[in-house]
Amino acid sequence: MSKPKVAIFDFACCEGCQLQIVNLEEELLDLISVVQPVTWREAMSEKDDDYDIALIEGSITRPEDEERLRAIRDRADILVALGACATIGGVNKLKNNFELDEVKRCVYGDAADMPHLDTAMTKGADEVVEVDCYVHGCPMDKKEFTHIVKSLALGKEPVIPDYPVCVECKQRGTICRYEYGEICLGVVTRAGCNAPCPSGGLWCFGCRGYAPEPNVQAARDVMEEYDLTVEDLQSKLKLFNSKQEPTNA
C-alpha cells in the first residue's frame, strides 16, 4: 500500500489544531513516514490537488467556504474534521445565538453592510458535507490525532471514547469541579482529551461535544443541589455546543 496523500485545509478557526500537528515535534517525521502531506499552507509552500485524505480545520461561516469544502470532499476519499470548529462548529457558533445582522453591526459598525462581510450561520463540517472521521477537541489532542492517523493508515476505525470526561478525571485522580461548586460539563461531554481542563484548574466546557446519549435533563435537575442555576448550565452548554442538539437543557 502506498502512503496515503494528505491535504490540510483551514476555515474559520484559530489554527490551534494545526499547531498541535506542529507540536508533534520529532513525531512529525514519523507522521510523514506513514502519510504524505501534499498540501499544508501553514507549514509548506507546495500545493497539490491530488490527495486521499483531507483534514479540515475550522468552521464554515460563509457560502463560498461551503463551496470550497464541497470541492475538497469531492476530491478526498476520507474527510476528517479536525477540532471543535470543524466537528461541532465550536466557539464560532456562539455567533448563532445572535441576529447575524446585529453581530456584524456590533463589530463593523457602519461598514457592516459591505458585501464581503457577509457571514452566515456557523456550521460544523458535517452540516455541509459527509464527514468520515472526527478528531474532537479545542484544540484537538495530539495523541488522539496520531492514534487516528495510525488507524487510518492501518485501515482501522479509530477507537474514540464514547463515555463522559468524568472517566478520565477519575483515571487521573483529578478532584471533581463540583467539589468546588462549579458547573463542569464533563458529565455530558465525550472524553478522549484526558481531561486537561478540570485537571488544570478549570471546568470542562464541552469542547468535544456531547457524549452519546448525554443526560442533559439530569444535569438540569442537579443544578439546585450545587446552588447553581439552570441558566448557568444553559450558558455553559452554549459555549461550544450552540445550536447543536440537545442544547435546550
Partner: protein, 340 residues
Amino acid sequence: MGIRKLSTASLHAWVDRIIAGNRVIGIQAKDDKFAFAPLSAAGDLRLDHDVAYTPPKAFFQPAIETLVRYRGIEHESVVDDDPFVLFGVHPYDMVALNQMAEIWSRDNYDPHYMSRWEQATVVACDVQNVSENCFAGCMGTAHVKEGFDILLTKVGDSYLADYRTEKGEKLADLMEQSRDATDGDLRARREVWHANNRLLRRHELQMFPNNLPELLEKSYDHPVWEEMAERCFSCGSCNLCCPTCYCFDVQDDVEWDLQSGERKRAWDGCMLASFAGVAGGHNFRGDRADRYRHRYYRKGKYVPEMIGECACVGCGRCISACVANIANPVTVYNRLLEDE
C-alpha cells in the same frame, strides 16, 4: 513480629529512614483533599487524612497499564515488579485490597496485578478523621485484621505499629526510639477500634451486609432502579472511584512502524453506556436502570457470592463522586429493606 510504640516525632524519623531506602507512596494533601503520591519527606505524610481521593487500588491496577508488548506476532509480557511501600491505607481500603488480591489471584492468576501486590509493603493506618460519607462501621470494615504488613494506630500522642509480616518487620527494624506496646497500650488501641466502629457511620445501613444477597435476590424488579437511574449520567464515576471495582477495557496502541506496540488495559465501568455493547449495535445492558441495578447487585450479591464478602467496604467515595447524588449504596439498600 510485634507491636511497638513510638512518638509522633520518632514516627517521622522512622518514615524518613524508610524513604531513604525505598520507593514510598504516601498519603498527602492534594488541594483540600488527600491523595496517595510519591512521598519525599515524612513531613508531607498526612495520617490524619479523612479519605484518599483515589483508592489505593490505583497502585496495583493503574488506571492504564501495559499488559503485553508486541513486535509483529512476537508478544512479551510486561510485569511491573518494582517494590514499593504504600503508606497510610485506611482499614476499609485494606479490606478492599484484600478482596482484590483474592479476585485477581483466584481461577486465572493475573501476574500484572499480583506482582505489584507481592512487591508492595502496605502500611495501614486506623482512621483519625472521618470523611463526610464514610459508613465503614456498618460494613464491618472500620477496623482490619489482616492483609497489611504494618498497622499504625494513633493512641494519644503516640503511634502503635503492629507488624505482622517479614516485609513489615524489615521496615520496623528501621525504627529507633520505640518500645514494645504494653497491655495498657493495647487496651487504648481497642478503644480506638471501638470508637471508630461507632464513628465511621455517616450513613446508617439498616442491616448486616451479609443479608444483602438475600435482600437483593428479591429486589430485581423494585422501582428504585428506574427512579434513581433517571438521573444517572452514565459517567462511571461511582465505578472508577470504588476501591473494589476492577473491570477493565483492553486496547492496542501501535507505534509509527504500524507493527509493534503495546496492549493496554484501562479502568472501565459497568455504569458506562456501552460497557455491555457488542459489534453490530446490540447492547446487553442498554438501559440506564439495568446498568444501575447491576452495580448494586455486583457489590451486594454477585461478588459476595464469589468471594464470600460484601464488595462494598463503605468508603463512601461513590457518594461523594456522584454528581447526580444517586450513588449512595446505603440509601438504595435501606430503601429495598423498607419496601420489603
